[in-house]
Amino acid sequence: MNWQKTITRRTVLKLLGGIGLMGLSPSLALGVDPLKKKNDFMDEFFQKNYRIMSKKEKLEAVERLKRRYQKEYGKTFDISTQDANNGTKYVYLLDIGRCIGCRKCVTACMKENNTSRGGEKSSQIEYIQVLKFKKGKPMRLEDGDAYYNDKQVPDPDAFYMPIACQQCENPPCVKACPTKATWTEKEGMTVVDYNWCIGCRVCVNACPYGARKFNWGKPNIPIDELNTETHYLSNRPRSKGVVEKCHFCIQRVRDGKYPQCHKACPTGVRKFGNLLDPSSEVHYIFKKYKVFRLKEDLNTEPRFYYYSSVG
């Protein structure tokens, strides 16, 4: 039975080759951030998906990350692993009748969430895109202007529509992910485990709202603008080659604060709150105004609503 020998030999060789490759590739891919502590490097490499980690494993992962960030950025990070609040379903409402298109939410979000500012070797990541539409014309996405550069806002002939992740109740991105690296938290935000994402970008393809962003290069963030108050599932610094997205500022919301875009908005057109709480502002708006959602025909059931309080 000579052939059996051949096959076992081949299999063994292939296995050995595979293990060799596996050992080699992390050092190749992460070659830019050398870690002195060898076991930290390997432990991070072998760490599990966040959702199946025990409490202890989560704490260990956080400590490892803190050490890595300390080395990389020279700053001490606070990385929370606080779970979702019970009895909350967050929704976001945006009053497009009164949005003035100042894009303060965009920049505030970038700073709060440590997104890459772009540059020669990295891409710029903005979770919110504001589209400017001409008044008196039907709202067709293709007619929106994403790069308006007006000296003064608002343009009286325009209305504005900020778009970010719609936090779908039926998210196509979560369905498409091959590794379960992204999921929806109990409160409704879809999050990414940046340590589990393999960077295949099938979710970027699957999202109908262009909400998912990929780190094409190593994120470029000015050290003095880093926000060190972070959550594991939201704004902690990411590596190159992973997908990220808006998460309603989990690091703030679970701390009882509003998302940063809500705080930054000078006109108060952004409304955020718990749908399950009958006394909440969002509940009131739902009763008072006609709301609508983007691409309703896709049945993604967004938790992000638009309405207009004027006109």
Binding site: A176, K180, I198, G241
Partner: protein
């Protein structure tokens, strides 16, 4: 043991042309490989991809190559399902083509993901496959399964050919059932690959039930013509005579599949261009351009023309009687489908993007280098496989 020795000798012994060919391929691989090494250090920023074009040239080649692998079934099916003796004699060409093109397809993916070292997240039981909802998870399973099935089949044929074994129990109860599985599996790999795209509600251009039939039809059209070209090369190199029956079989399969492909493309074109809804913007971009962006219409009409001309040339070649016409037809069919089922499937789907922006994408040098290296590696691998299998199975020493 004697088999391993022979394989080893077959690999290292050869005419000067063999060494020159290998050297050229290695040089191309080394040149293109630099781009990959740079990518490992700096990420995919060197490519022309962006959040509006998350997939590009590598995925386009992936789709085409999975099609070639599935198309190998056009030789395997006649050989074992219809008991065609001539097809059976040459079936190893198809099976080894499946192996090589699957490996190339996998490399297209591996060089395209952001965290190659996290690949183990896809390998159960260590990783977590997102079954049953993720089509990409299914694709990982079926594509790797197809690879291993075909490696087994080629090794089995090789072993039998080498020791001149008669058909025994192992043949009937292991080899044949696995061969039948491989036939069904070939359809599965390409359907699942098509479902990755057609399942996406975010891209109306892909979210189309014709996607899987189109993938299968193009695969059945490409597989035979690629094999015809390879057979011509083998016949030239080893001074073998190809049976007319074999060429005619492959040419006819390609003819019918290509006819189906053209029909599918025309019917898509009709529905999209006639209805003219917002959902047909991508098709408009591909065929005639959109808002002044018309960089691809040369490719769309070019590839369509190539398929039509190839379709007419196949009968004109007498389905293989006139070899030079057949070779020409095979080449333009393969090229036409490579364009249609590569960039023609991927790029238009992103135009306009999800929020209505119209951007253009064209692979840059970085992506071309990586894809060229993968093609060189595939050719190298296929050369080595044929170098080993042909002397054993055809009793022809180079």
């Amino acid at each position: 043991m004697k088999l391993i020795g022979n394989i080893f000798m077959a690999l290292i012994k050869g005419k000067p042309l063999y060494y020159v060919w290998l050297a050229v391929l290695v040089v191309i691989m080394a040149w293109g490989g630099q781009a990959f090494i740079l990518q490992c250090r700096e990420g995919l920023i060197g490519s022309a991809l962006s959040d509006s074009f998350p997939w590009g040239f590598q995925i386009a080649n992936f789709v085409f190559l999975v099609g070639v692998a599935a198309g190998a079934v056009t030789l395997v099916m006649p050989a074992y399902f219809f008991g065609n003796k001539v097809a059976r004699e040459w079936v190893f060409v198809g099976e080894s083509l499946a192996i090589v093109s699957i490996i190339m397809a996998l490399l297209c993916i591996l060089t395209d993901i952001g965290h190659l070292e996290r690949l183990w997240h896809l390998i159960p039981p260590f990783g977590l496959l997102n079954l049953p909802t993720s089509l990409l998870s299914w694709d990982v399973l079926v594509i790797n399964g197809y690879l291993f099935i075909n490696i087994f089949l080629v090794l089995f044929i090789l072993w039998k050919g080498f020791y001149n074994k008669p058909h025994g129990l192992a043949y009937r109860f292991i080899f044949l059932p696995i061969t039948y599985i491989s036939i069904v599996w070939a359809f599965a790999i390409h359907s699942v690959t098509a479902f990755i795209f057609s399942s996406m509600i975010s891209r109306p251009y892909w979210n189309n039930a014709l996607m899987a039939p189109k993938f299968i039809a193009t695969a059945m059209a490409t597989g035979p013509v690629v094999m015809i070209l390879i057979l011509f090369l083998i016949a030239w190199r080893y001074k073998l005579v190809l049976q007319q029956e074999l060429l005619s079989l492959l040419a006819k399969v390609s003819f019918f599949a290509l006819g189906a492909t053209i029909f599918i493309v025309l019917s898509e074109m009709f529905v999209e261009l006639y209805s003219g809804t917002e959902h047909t913007r991508s098709a408009l971009y591909w065929w005639v351009g959109l808002s002044g962006h018309s960089g691809l219409s040369l490719y769309s009409w070019g590839s369509f023309l190539m398929m039509v001309v190839g379709f007419l040339l196949l009968p004109l070649s007498g389905f293989g009687a006139r070899k030079s016409i057949l070779a020409l037809a095979s080449f333009i069919i393969a090229l036409g489908i490579w364009i249609e089922k590569g960039i023609g499937i991927i790029i238009p789907a992103y135009v306009p993007n999800n929020l209505g922006r119209i951007y253009d994408y064209w692979p840059n040098k970085h992506e071309m280098m990586i894809v060229t290296a993968i093609w060189a590696l595939g050719l190298l691998l296929y050369t080595l496989v044929l170098k080993v299998t042909i002397p054993i199975l055809k009793n022809k020493i180079d």
